[in-house]
């Protein structure tokens, strides 16, 4: 029974990683850049929802929409000011700019909301699920997180596969120049991708803080790195890959803690990651790159 309970905690943690990883993977797939500021957009999302519920008395659901709106806007602004001027620069230059943006967001949050941690009130308020005479308790946040993850993955897959902008995204990710020749506005497609990714970050932020109710300016940093790892694990650029990678990472982390060692849990997670990548060099669901000579 304890195994089941650990597995569920793992899936719950993993679902959060997965939602964050989706943001990484979408942006990477289209703009070919690692957006290291993604973790900090999560933090902003958490603070927005917190302010709406605690200071303005909004309902939790409304606060999620506010967080999404603000983060989407923030994503667009960051993209316009910091990344767009570098469209023709090397991907590493953009990576460093993203790190600058990450420092910027963390430090501005420190000035606005102070360094004192805040306790986040979970946006989910219904009772937790009790199974097997209360031996197995699945908290309501866990249920919502897992459901949200599934909905988001299905939604994103549908958008990418069937909508017009989704087709544009796929085209840009496949071949930028050819897409442009076909009349696709590359800049706009990239901006939309950023907007979607940042909106997702807001959802991830709210869920992260609901599951682990602690809000600080640095709250997004570590989940951001773990989610980036998850995105690569699953095969960067692949939407189902990000979900699989995220969930597996969460499960490995929790089970590693439970059955091997709590001291070395990070070392375990990252060792598994290295081993998997050695067996499958492009991640679990990544496309095999065939090189043209």
């Amino acid at each position: 029974m304890s195994f089941l309970s650990y597995l569920i905690s793992g899936i719950s943690l993993g679902s959060i990683y997965a939602i964050i990883a989706l943001g990484y993977t979408m942006v990477y797939g289209i703009a070919k850049m690692l957006n290291f500021a993604h973790g900090d957009v999560i933090m902003v999302g958490g603070y927005m929802s917190f302010m709406a519920t605690s200071y303005m008395g909004w309902s939790p659901v409304a606060s999620v929409f506010l967080a999404m709106a603000v983060c989407t806007l923030l994503g667009i602004i960051i993209e316009r000011l910091a990344y767009k001027p570098l469209r023709n620069a090397t991907s590493l230059a953009v990576l460093i700019t993203a790190i600058g943006v990450s420092y910027f967001l963390q430090n501005i949050a420190l000035l606005i909301w102070s360094s004192n941690p805040k306790s986040f009130t979970s946006i989910v308020s219904f009772d937790s699920l009790r199974l097997f005479d209360g031996q197995l308790i699945i908290s309501s946040v866990t249920l919502v997180t897992i459901a949200a993850c599934i909905v988001i993955v299905c939604g994103l897959t549908a958008i990418v596969r069937y909508s017009k902008i989704g087709k544009a995204m796929r085209a840009v990710s496949e071949d930028k120049e050819a897409a442009q020749l076909m009349g696709i506005d590359i800049n706009q497609t990239i901006s939309v991708t950023f907007a979607i990714g940042s909106g997702l970050a807001a959802v991830a932020g709210v869920l992260l803080c609901s599951a682990y109710p602690l809000l600080m300016p640095t709250v997004g940093a570590m989940p951001g790195i773990k989610a980036f790892t998850a995105a690569v694990f699953g095969g960067i650029g692949s939407i189902p890959g990000a979900m699989l990678g995220g969930i597996l990472l969460g499960v490995i982390e929790i089970l590693g803690k439970a059955y091997i060692s709590t001291e070395l849990s990070d070392a375990i997670v990252f060792s598994v990651l290295i081993i998997v990548l050695l067996v499958r060099p492009t991640g679990l669901l990544g496309k095999k790159i065939s090189e043209k000579v």
């Binding site: 990477y28 690692l34 290291f36 910091a82 001027p85 570098l86 023709n88 620069a89 090397t90 590493l92 230059a93 990576l95 460093i96 700019t97 790190i99 600058g100 943006v101 420092y103 910027f104 430090n107 501005i108 000035l111 790195i225 980036f228 790892t229 690569v232 694990f233 960067i236 001291e263 070395l264 849990s265 990070d266 070392a267 990252f270 060792s271 990651l273 290295i274 990548l277 050695l278 060099p281 492009t282 991640g283 790159i289 090189e291 000579v293």
Partner: protein, 360 residues
């Protein structure tokens, strides 16, 4: 001057780099002897040297070999803790400080180099971001393991444990060198600015010579087109490994120097953020551009200290400057705007020199 201009372009460029470092060293040394530099700046001299070596060594992996590494601080960490263990263990037997420092740095480099080999053999089969993530994972694993490592020396000999300091069973008067998350404390301060300068010179010598050697050209051929390089008979794995191991070993030596400059060092210092910081130096200085790495490492190490006057806005300002510099140096339009502005300071060069550099 005429003879100087007759030299090969790369040789000339390298000589300028060496001269720049030597001049900077002499200038700082003279000022320091005259007592006219602040304690704040003097305290930063060794860290600056360390970060310069870190930047040059990472540039070898990222710029010259063309593989993204996000775990360079992991090698630094190995070098740092090896250096600490060596220097404390030898405290009784080797009395000369510079000698002990040298041994510590060499062993730090050897251990980090071995780690480079262990990580490199499997990891260099991967490409791009997948390699990056393996190096990131390596850095995190090192951090996690060192956090649980207890090392001590005493009458019972040299002991290692992963439980706690007590289980080392060191006997009377034993010294605990590494104390888990508390890190190493009571480190003798052996590092000096001169030793940092010498390490920079050695690093420059190794990397610049490598860059201009047969092996260096092979490494860059692998970077530019792996398949083409392979087809003309270059052993891709061998050259990749070579660059990666040298890079790791230099980082190890720098790590040893770093640790021996402070009386304490903890594993947490060498985390993902430190790896990223060094990557920032490399990218800002220019990929494959050694002189750029030196300047960027110096400026970005001193910058946060100079911003202290801005109190709470210090790190915010640092972020803004970082973003702006990246934008200005990588965006065509902004670059042109800056050109107009800085054109005023432009130095007139002999035509052949300018022609030579424009092609880079």
């Amino acid at each position: 001057m005429k003879n100087f201009l007759k030299l090969k372009k790369t040789t000339r460029k390298n000589l300028v780099t060496y001269a720049m470092v030597i001049l900077a060293f002499l200038a700082v040394w003279l000022l320091s002897a005259g007592g006219s530099i602040s304690s704040a700046f003097r305290g930063q001299l060794v860290p600056i040297c360390v970060y310069i070596v870190m930047a040059i060594s990472l540039n070898l992996t990222v710029g010259i070999l063309g593989e993204l590494s996000l775990g360079h601080a992991g090698f630094m960490s190995l070098g740092a803790f090896t250096g600490v263990i060596v220097s404390i263990s030898l405290q009784g037997s080797v009395s000369s400080d510079p000698l002990r420092l040298t041994i510590a740095m060499i062993l730090g480099a050897v251990i980090a180099g071995i780690a480079g080999l262990v990580v490199g053999v499997p990891a260099l089969r991967l490409r791009g971001d997948y390699l990056a993530i393996v190096t990131l994972a390596f850095g995190e694993i090192i951090k996690n393991i060192i956090n649980t490592l207890y090392v001590g020396i005493g009458p019972n000999g040299f002991r290692i444990s992963m439980v706690n300091a007590e289980s080392l069973n060191l006997g009377e008067n034993g010294t605990v060198i590494m104390n888990g998350p508390m890190g190493a404390v009571g480190i003798p301060k052996l590092a000096t600015f001169t030793s940092g300068f010498i390490l920079i010179m050695i690093t420059l010598f190794i990397v610049l010579n490598l860059q201009n050697s047969r092996s260096g050209r092979a490494i860059m051929a692998v970077r530019d087109n792996r398949i083409a390089a392979e087809s003309v008979g270059i052993s891709v794995t061998r050259y990749k490994l070579m660059a990666f191991i040298i890079s790791a070993a230099l980082a190890g030596a720098a790590g040893a120097l770093y640790a021996l400059n402070f009386s304490t060092v903890v594993a947490r210092k060498f985390d993902f953020n430190t790896s990223i910081l060094i990557l920032v130096f490399v990218v800002l200085g220019g990929m494959g551009n050694i002189r750029g790495s030196i300047i960027a490492a110096t400026v970005l190490t001193v910058l946060p200290e100079l911003l202290r006057a801005f109190n709470n806005y210090r790190m915010l300002l640092y972020a803004v400057i970082l973003i702006l510099v990246m934008l200005v140096s990588n965006n065509e339009q902004l670059k042109n705007m800056m050109k107009k502005f800085t054109g005023f300071f432009k130095i007139k060069r002999p035509p052949d020199l300018r022609g030579g550099t424009a092609r880079e």
